[in-house]
Symmetry: C2
Subunit: 170 residues, 2 copies
């Protein structure tokens, strides 16, 4: 799929078919994260692939904004090194790369923000000093949607030219 | 260009040809940002397109890690609303979308982290309470590089299976 088409059409997906994602696709998604850019090329990330259904259920129960993690084909917990100053930006860029590459293979995903991080860290044996940035659930969408209809502000509200407040004419 | 190919091959680019980027491509890049996902769909961003050469030179001089902004065909200053709790993650995902869509059209870019933000905000008339996240320079690469050689840690160092510390066998 073309990059622009993928970025334009990709939706955050939170309901998944009960259908496994082949490991070559999981690997491609990990490669997308691994090859991402990061500040000073520090690559401050670790990616924990969770496939075990019981663990996914437990993470879902510990995620107020992501109970649907329980139904994912797999999830990737993104963990960052404590000494990294820019880990939020670096891992968000890596996550976006992973989610777009997944979409390219028909696999949906969604950023989950609200997670009981201390408990999920214990569950996944993540050292206390590491940051648990997010847990991204992945799976084939239950309701495939088409088209580019997205509820977004128009460019005239968010794009400026040369100076803040000067409308970008397009 | 295929999404996986683009993610695998895209490089951060800091030297640019003295060649303008057509406005339809600038617009496509803005669309990629506009259509990005964000926490609670708040879209807490503003994108300021800077094309004026004098302004680009001034921003370059105010960016310890990005003097090459001076040579960009254009730049996009990413600004975030002060009340957003998740603006770093939201804007980093939008930036990654924009940078991939640019790459898809042969346009390079690079994340610039070290910027004298207060001074650049004054230069671009950005209200004091807004966050200036980054200024992304864009332009056609001076030295087009091919291939996928990237200096990155192997998957065996950064990918785990089910629990932190368990090597991901692939």
């Amino acid at each position: 799929m073309d990059v622009f088409e993928s970025v334009v059409k990709r939706l955050e997906v939170k309901s998944y078919l009960d259908k496994p994602v082949p490991m070559n696709i999981v690997r491609e998604i990990l490669e997308a994260g691994r090859l991402s850019p990061s500040a000073m090329n520090l690559q401050p990330w670790r990616f924990i692939v969770v496939k075990d259904k019981e663990t996914l259920k437990k993470i879902g129960a510990l995620s107020p904004s992501g109970p649907y993690i329980a139904d994912a084909a797999f999830a990737i917990a993104i963990v960052a090194e404590p000494e990294s100053r820019w880990y939020q930006i670096d891992t968000a860029r890596a996550a976006q790369n992973m989610m777009l590459v997944a979409w390219n293979r028909g696999v949906g995903s969604r950023w989950v923000g609200s997670i009981k991080r201390d408990e999920v860290k214990k569950l996944l044996a993540i050292p206390a000093e590491m940051h648990l940035v997010t847990v991204l659930p992945f799976g084939y969408p239950k309701k495939p949607r088409r088209g580019t209809k997205k509820n977004r502000k128009p460019l005239s509200e968010i794009a400026h030219l040369e100076r803040y407040g000067q409308i970008f004419f397009h």
